[in-house]
């Protein structure tokens, strides 16, 4: 790769090398120090805390595995929140990936005014957070919201959206589709980077549009699909703001995302130990899911020039 050439990897020795190594550590020191203070330290502390009861006011009490036992056997809300989170992830991640890909394919057709459309589609992605949550609460309003008004126009009685146990997660999934502009842009760049000669070669071999799509386009952008899928799943486990602002986990815990349940335990009930145990559960689940995706990737991800060469 072109970038490889600009990364020195040859082994080297001597006093100049020592000076360079020292310079490396000096330049990298903000992150190295930060990594110890904000990542390693807190991870050790939260591991320790997960074996304790700690309400912030009285000193922590060591309780052994009690938090973990409680979490796995005595707390229905843990399972509820994992179900909610997985339901959302399974609904939102593939839908978002496919919708963004279709949009990128459409945009790749030499359409006029592509810069304007790119701006429009990307806009929702830059205004995340509370204002967006408020806006969608108003869109989803069952009586006066624009969505149900539109459905009424075409003769459909809209559901109660955020107020319905059945519809609350689909509502969040629908809302997440509003921000597919971000992955769409990445797909578009990937599509534009596919060498034309591959399509020509496929044509010579008699490939039609569908065969070209499945045998050239998809393999060539599969690393991007893979990246977006992994980050999408991880993102689902960290959803907090919309759940906190729009539904506060309701109705009847139907939108109690694990990120919200963890926050509630830590900062509403002040069960810091229990919240830490939950955090480790989330960590292990994400780790397991990521490993499954990464392990299975050689089966379906195509890296040009061999596995992983474009990775670093």
């Amino acid at each position: 790769m072109a970038t490889r050439a600009n990364l020195r990897t040859v082994p080297f020795r001597g006093s100049l090398a020592r000076r360079e190594e020292l310079a490396f550590y000096l330049f990298a020191s903000p992150w190295l120090v930060g990594f110890v203070i904000w990542t390693v330290g807190p991870m050790i502390a939260s591991f320790g805390l997960s074996f304790a009861h700690y309400d912030v006011i009285t000193p922590p009490i060591f309780v052994g595995l009690q938090n973990y036992v409680q979490m796995l056997t005595g707390d229905d809300l843990v399972w509820r929140s994992l179900q909610v989170t997985l339901y959302y992830a399974v609904g939102a991640v593939p839908t978002g990936l496919i919708a963004a890909l279709i949009l990128a394919l459409l945009m790749n057709q030499k359409v006029h005014g592509i810069a304007v459309f790119r701006t429009i589609y990307y806009m929702p992605a830059v205004i995340a957070g509370v204002p967006v949550a408020l806006l969608w609460m108003w869109i989803f309003n069952p009586d006066f919201g624009v969505l149900n008004n539109f459905l009424a126009m075409i003769g459909i009685q809209g559901p109660k959206w955020l107020f319905s146990e059945t519809w609350v997660i689909p509502s969040f999934i629908l809302m997440s589709l509003w921000t597919i502009g971000a992955p769409m842009i990445i797909y578009l760049a990937g599509l534009q980077g596919i060498p034309q000669h591959l399509y020509e070669a496929a044509e010579i071999d008699g490939a039609g549009p569908w065969a070209k799509f499945t045998h050239v386009t998809i393999p060539m952008i599969s690393p991007i699909i893979f990246f977006n899928a992994v980050m999408g799943v991880i993102g689902s486990f960290q959803i907090f703001t919309p759940a906190y602002v729009m539904t506060n986990g309701g109705p009847d815990n139907a939108s109690l995302f694990i990120g919200l349940y963890l926050y509630n335990n830590a900062f509403k009930y002040f069960q810091m130990g229990y919240a830490s145990a939950l955090a480790w559960l989330v960590f292990l689940i994400i780790l397991a899911l990521s490993l499954v995706v990464i392990r299975s990737s050689p089966l379906w991800v195509y890296y040009e020039g061999g596995m992983g060469s474009g990775k670093l």
Partner: protein
């Protein structure tokens, strides 16, 4: 036969030569354009709905069917919204935090990225893999103990927990900048070294001036992230005067219920404006940066 090589090179010209193909591809472009227009309209409807609601009197908000264009444009809703919560105070707080975070993120991440892109050390590649793996680490794992660290430091209800971590580099920004630095030719560094330039000199005089687009991307990313941040200020800020805009908006909702929708949409619009302005002015740089990180991931 003489035309074959040239049509190969120019697919559009070849489409003209082969009548049926040209028809098919132009129909295809028309259909794509139509679908893209519909999609863009769907994306814009929420914004239009927000603006439309924000200039209505509250009574008109609850009229069915929806009145897209209000009978009279009422801008005083914006004035009311900024008084129901001390919006401008929160805007100043948010701006202060955001500026400090942007400065910290750009400074620290550009330094660290230089180390990973240009300087050799035996542990460099291992450290880089660790850096990348922190991108996958869910924030929840460190949420509680980070809170306890700030509590121990006596920093609760101050802006420090929101600002200080930015000065220790952010794995995502470091990765983005490193990828960019790698595209700069090494010969520049070597030439400067021969002229007696120190590593820091190479960094400030050669790497930084050439990396303006990437630095701008990091500045914009950190601007959006800090301006829109909700969970951290929610955890750390207690005093109302210290709230940021997102916390203020959430307070609005919890305090007054969801009745004054026109005011809430006005306040939301105001809250979104800085991000939209930054996006419009810097979108080319920003989208390139977003693509760079996504593609090389």
């Amino acid at each position: 036969m003489a035309t074959t090589p040239s049509t190969r090179l120019q697919p559009e010209a070849s489409a003209h030569l082969l009548g049926s193909k040209s028809f098919r591809s132009s129909a295809q472009v028309t259909l794509s354009t139509a679908l893209i227009w519909i999609g863009a309209a769907i994306v814009l409807v929420p914004f239009a709905w927000m603006l439309s609601t924000s200039v209505k009197p509250n009574a008109e908000v609850f009229i069915i069917p929806v009145q897209w264009i209000p009978r009279q444009i009422r801008l005083s809703t914006y004035a009311e919204a900024t008084q129901t919560i001390p919006f401008w105070q929160y805007a100043i707080n948010s701006a202060y935090i955001t500026i400090m975070v942007v400065i910290g993120s750009v400074l620290s991440s550009s330094l660290v990225a230089y180390a990973f892109a240009r300087l050799r050390a035996r542990a460099r590649d291992v450290l880089f893999i660790i850096l990348l793996s922190t991108l996958m680490l869910p924030g929840e794992v460190t949420l509680v103990s980070t809170y306890l660290i700030f509590k121990w430091l006596g920093w609760l209800d101050t802006y420090n927990p929101l600002i200080v971590p930015a000065y220790f580099g952010n794995a995502f920004y470091i990765f983005l900048l490193r990828q960019f630095y790698l595209t700069l030719p090494l010969e520049l560094d070597d030439a400067a070294k021969i002229d007696g330039c120190s590593y820091f000199g190479i960094f400030t005089r050669i790497i930084l001036p050439l990396s303006k687009p990437a630095l701008a991307t990091v500045a914009i990313f950190s601007f959006f992230n800090s301006w829109n941040a909700f969970q951290t200020p929610l955890i750390y800020l207690n005093t109302m005067e210290k709230y940021t805009i997102p916390i203020g908006l959430n307070f609005f909702l919890s305090q007054y219920g969801s009745t004054p929708w026109n005011q809430m949409m006005a306040a939301s619009t105001l809250a979104m404006i800085p991000c939209l302005i930054v996006f419009f002015f810097a979108q080319r740089t920003f989208i390139q940066g977003a693509v760079l990180t996504g593609l090389k991931g």
